[in-house]
Symmetry: C2
Subunit: 91 residues, 2 copies
C-alpha cells in the first residue's frame, strides 16, 4: 500500500476541443460562412465549426487529469473516424 494512499486529490479543469479532421466535409461551417457573407461580412473568407467540452476532474497530478481527459475524449466526446481533439489544462 502506497504511503500517500488516501491523500486528497486535487481538482483540475480540462478543456477539450473537438474539430473535424482536415478533408472532412463541414456543411455546418459552410452554412455559417454563407450566412456571414449574407449578413455583409465580406472579409470572412471561411468558417469552420467544432465543439468544446470542459471537464472538472479529481486527480493526484495534472498529468493524470490530462490522461483521464484524453481517454474521455477518445471514448465518448470525439468520433475518431472524422474528428480530432486537443486537450488543454486550465490552471
Amino acid at each position: 500500500m502506497a504511503i500517500n494512499s488516501g491523500s486528497d486529490p486535487m481538482r483540475f479543469s480540462a478543456s477539450i476541443k473537438v474539430v473535424l479532421k482536415d478533408g472532412v466535409l463541414d456543411p455546418q461551417g459552410e452554412t455559417i460562412g454563407r450566412a456571414l457573407k449574407d449578413l455583409g461580412f465580406e472579409s470572412i473568407v471561411s468558417a469552420s465549426s467544432g465543439r468544446i467540452f470542459r471537464l472538472d476532474i479529481d486527480a493526484e497530478t495534472e498529468a493524470q487529469a490530462r490522461k483521464i481527459a484524453g481517454e474521455a475524449a477518445s471514448k465518448l466526446l470525439a468520433n475518431p473516424v472524422i474528428e480530432r481533439y486537443e486537450v488543454e489544462m486550465a490552471k
Copy 2:
C-alpha cells in the same frame, strides 16, 4: 485618400468559443457527465459543453480582424441571452 488604400489585406485566423452563461441549464453537459460516469470515469466531477468556430478573416490589422470576429459572434454565432463568447486570434 489614405496613402495605403488598396494595400493587400492580411489573412487572420480567429477562434471563437461560445459557452453557456453561468446559471444557464446545460442538459447536454449533464448528459455527458452522466455518460462518462457510466463508462467508469468516476473522477470526472462535472462536464459542460459549448461550440467553437474558426473564422479566416482578411483585414488590415489584427485589431480589425478581432473586431470583425466579435461582430460575427454577437450577430450570428452566439445567442447573447444565454451564451457568452471569447475571441482568440491565432498567429
